[in-house]
C-alpha cells in the first residue's frame, strides 16, 4: 500500500500518470489551475515531511546521546552500589524522534523500604547486609533473591504500602531483624 502511494505521489508530482489510471481520468476533468494548486499542496506537504525528517534526525542523535549518558550513569551506579547496604533507583524519560523512551534501573529491598518508609532505615540496611553476606553466596539464596525481586515491587507498591498489612509486616520484619542481631 505504501509503495502504491509512493508511486502515485511520484507520478502525480511529475505529471506522468498512466493514461488509463483513475487518478489521470479525475485529473483530466479538473481545470489546469486546480491541478496546479493541488500539485503545489503536494509539494508543500512533502517539503513539510522532509523538514520534519531533518528535525527528527537531529532529535534522534540528541536523544541517543542523552540515553547513552543515562546508561553510563546507571552502570556507574551499579559499580558503586554493588556492595552491602546499597540501593538506588534511576528513572529517565527522553523525548525521541518517534515518541518517548523511559528507562528504570534499580537495586534495593522493596518491601522493607515500603514498610519502613526509607531505604536507609537501620533495619533495611541490616536486611540488605544479610542478603549480600549470606543469601547471595549460595544457589538457594540467589534463587530466593531472584524470586523476591520479581514479586516484591508489586507487593511493595500495593499490599504492604498501607494499613494493617504494613503494620503486620513491620512487626514481622522487626522480629527478623532482632533475630539477625541476636
Amino acid at each position: 500500500m505504501a509503495e502504491n502511494f509512493e508511486l502515485v505521489k511520484a507520478q502525480f508530482i511529475s505529471g506522468q500518470l498512466p493514461a488509463g489510471s483513475i487518478l489521470a481520468k479525475v485529473l483530466a476533468d479538473l481545470p489546469a489551475e486546480d491541478v496546479a494548486r493541488l500539485k503545489q499542496k503536494a509539494a508543500e506537504g512533502m517539503l513539510g515531511v522532509e523538514l520534519k525528517r531533518l528535525a527528527d534526525q537531529n532529535k534522534f542523535q540528541v536523544s541517543s546521546a542523552d540515553i547513552d549518558d543515562f546508561i553510563q550513569n546507571a552502570q556507574r551506579m551499579e559499580r558503586t552500589h554493588s556492595g552491602v547496604t546499597s540501593s538506588y533507583k534511576m528513572d529517565g524519560r527522553f523525548e525521541t524522534a518517534s515518541g518517548e523512551t523511559t528507562i528504570t534501573s534499580k537495586k534495593g529491598c522493596f518491601i522493607a523500604t515500603a514498610v519502613y518508609g526509607s531505604a536507609n532505615h537501620p533495619n533495611v540496611v541490616r536486611l540488605r547486609r544479610f542478603r549480600d553476606r549470606h543469601l547471595e553466596t549460595h544457589f538457594v539464596g540467589r534463587l530466593f533473591c531472584a524470586l523476591y525481586y520479581r514479586l516484591s515491587p508489586r507487593l511493595a507498591a500495593g499490599f504492604f504500602s498501607r494499613g494493617k498489612a504494613q503494620n503486620g509486616m513491620r512487626r514481622l520484619l522487626d522480629r527478623v531483624c532482632a533475630f539477625l542481631n541476636g
Binding site: A2, K41, G48, D56, A97, E100, T101
Partner: protein, 238 residues
C-alpha cells in the same frame, strides 16, 4: 398571550440552537471557516455565489440571505442549521483548490482520532528474538492506515463536496503525505526500540524500559524487560 408568545419564541430559539449544533457536529469548525470566507467574499466570487444560492434554493431564500448577510458578518444574527448546511455545500464550490484542500485537511485531521489504533508489545531480552519483525509489522500496519481513512457517513451526507473528484484527489495527496510521515517515524522508532533493547541488556541490575512510537494513526508501546527467574529456568530446559 405575552407569556405564550414568549414561550413560543423561546422554544423556537432552542430549536434553532439544537439544529445548528447538529449541523456543526463532526465538522471540526470548518463551518466557522466557511462562514468567515463567505462573509469576506466580494466582487465576482460573491455574485457568483449569490446566483448559485438563488438557483439552488429559490429567490426568497436568496433575498433573505442578502438581507441578513451583514448580521451574520457582525455576529448579531446566527444562521440557522439549514442555512449553514446550504452555505457549507455552496461556498466550497467557488473556492480555489488550495482553500478547499485546507478545509478538507482540517476535517480529516479532526476525524483521524476515530481511526487511531493502540498496540503494545512486550520484549523479553534474549527471549523475544523476532521483536524487530513484530515492531516493523505493527508500524507497517499504521503506515497503511492513511489510505483507508474515510470520513464518517453523516459528514459525507452533510457536505457532499467531500466526495467530489477533486476532493478525492486532494485526499489521496494528504494520505500520501501522511504515509510518508508515518514511514519516517516508524523507521526511527524501530531503530530506537533496537537501541533500547541493547541498552537494557547492557545493565546488570534490574532494569526495564518502554518506548512509545507516536504515529499519525496510532501508538505503539514497546515494553522491554529482562527475563524473570521462571523464564530463565524455562530457557535452560528448552
Amino acid at each position: 398571550m405575552g407569556r405564550y408568545y414568549h414561550r413560543r419564541r423561546f422554544s423556537h430559539y432552542r430549536h434553532n440552537e439544537s439544529q445548528r449544533a447538529e449541523t456543526k457536529s463532526g465538522l471540526a469548525g470548518i463551518d466557522d471557516d466557511v462562514l468567515r470566507i463567505f462573509n469576506s467574499l466580494h466582487g465576482l466570487r460573491r455574485t457568483n455565489l449569490f446566483n448559485q444560492y438563488d438557483k439552488a434554493h429559490g429567490n426568497s431564500a436568496g433575498s433573505y440571505m442578502r438581507k441578513t448577510i451583514a448580521g451574520w458578518a457582525s455576529g448579531a444574527v446566527k444562521p440557522s442549521g439549514d442555512t449553514l448546511t446550504r452555505l457549507l455545500n455552496l461556498v466550497p464550490k467557488i473556492l480555489n483548490q488550495s482553500e478547499k484542500y485546507d478545509l478538507l485537511k482540517k476535517l480529516y485531521d479532526s476525524h483521524r482520532k476515530d481511526f487511531q489504533e493502540q498496540h503494545s508489545l512486550t520484549v523479553v531480552i534474549g527471549h523475544s528474538l523476532s521483536f524487530r519483525q513484530q515492531v516493523t509489522d505493527l508500524a507497517q500496519r499504521l503506515c497503511n492506515k492513511p489510505g483507508t481513512h474515510t470520513l464518517p457517513t453523516y459528514v459525507q451526507t452533510k457536505i457532499a463536496w467531500v466526495c467530489d473528484n477533486d476532493s478525492t484527489v486532494a485526499r489521496r495527496i494528504m494520505a500520501a503525505i501522511e504515509t510518508e510521515d508515518s514511514v519516517a517515524i516508524a523507521s526511527a522508532g524501530v531503530a530506537e526500540v533496537e537501541n533500547l533493547v541493547r541498552r537494557i541488556q547492557s545493565l546488570d541490575m534490574s532494569a526495564e524500559g518502554t518506548h512509545t512510537m507516536r504515529l499519525p494513526y496510532g501508538l505503539i508501546t514497546v515494553y522491554v524487560r529482562k527475563p524473570n527467574l521462571f523464564e530463565k529456568i524455562g530457557k535452560l530446559f528448552s
